[in-house]
Symmetry: C2
Subunit: 223 residues, 2 copies
Amino acid sequence: MDGVPVERSQRLSRAAAQRLSLYLRCVADWPMDGEPVSSGRIAEAVGVSDAQVRRDLAALGHLGQRGVGYDARELATAIRTALGIDRPWRAVLVGVGNLGRALLKYRGFRAQGFEIIGLFDSDPTKVGKDVEGLTVESVTALGARVAELQAELGVLTVPGDTAHVVADALVAAGVRGILNFAPVVLKLPRRVRLVTVDLAIQLEQLAFQVQHGDSAARATDEE
Amino acid sequence: MDGVPVERSQRLSRAAAQRLSLYLRCVADWPMDGEPVSSGRIAEAVGVSDAQVRRDLAALGHLGQRGVGYDARELATAIRTALGIDRPWRAVLVGVGNLGRALLKYRGFRAQGFEIIGLFDSDPTKVGKDVEGLTVESVTALGARVAELQAELGVLTVPGDTAHVVADALVAAGVRGILNFAPVVLKLPRRVRLVTVDLAIQLEQLAFQVQHGDSAARATDEE
């Protein structure tokens, strides 16, 4: 969508970007050539207020019609542009254990334009094996292969004790962002972005909501 | 910590609860009988402002000393109490595939007081098998077993097309919260809490940060 000025979408906070990801899930389920989607429907599905949805979407430019709603296709395009996923992203995955295999099978990545194009492991018994249509390569090849594969992102599914060494190798190989599943705090150069998925935090958040019942049930993380 | 009034911690927003989880990771790495932890150190490690950390921790009650910092042990206890993880939580896991196995091996759960005490799968070839010290049971046994095991939480690692049926079975069996890894939007009764981990969203957030560079690099999701 060329109606979104770059400066505007750059000002999105991380919290707003996360909400946009959720709105996109909701809009993607909507019939693309059907009725307009209302902010109320999105708000209900995602669990934030109607006003928050309207504010977030207003920040993307002139979308939707008052009292009518948003065109699903146009809205999906605008959100993808704002998030930077209106183009494919190429990623390598390091650590072909249970979690790595689960991610390779995960259809959601490809559906959102993320393609895993290289697999690496330090275990010599895994190197050379075929997993989900890719051949596992040695981590020692990362330096050369990331550039050859033109991979921008690295997915780290190695044990905590080797995560740092592998992250450093990915950085040296030139990736621009790392999705880290290892339960460690990684220190990376500022130019490389890091998202850490700490699965225990998700369980903690669930426990928090169960413990505190309805008062915490509605998302109150609005801005 | 008995200094935290229940009403106060109930007023925590989900965003604040998420930040507390991150502070807890940082504090847990600190020597427990060592020097006090400063809000600045926590802020730097987590990537939010010093003021935000101080505000969040002030909401937990009288902690820390101005100009000195927080006692690591006291702070960890206060955060655990506020989040409701100052007691163990019992969970069952449904779907013993790659992701389920990865979660069973994940040491972070037990470290934070989450214990997976029952495994269920619909695949008859998996039922009866021993996985990580537990015997896989049939999903048809969920109704009786959740109560027997006194499980409060369910972890859902089944494919998207069966997630709804299994979630309904978990709800009927009496769990109070579900951690859902299936890429579907579940509709549950209001009394049952739901946290959905959408792994593609994590990759989207990484792409967003890479795309927009430093402007999005600092967490700006402050309240």
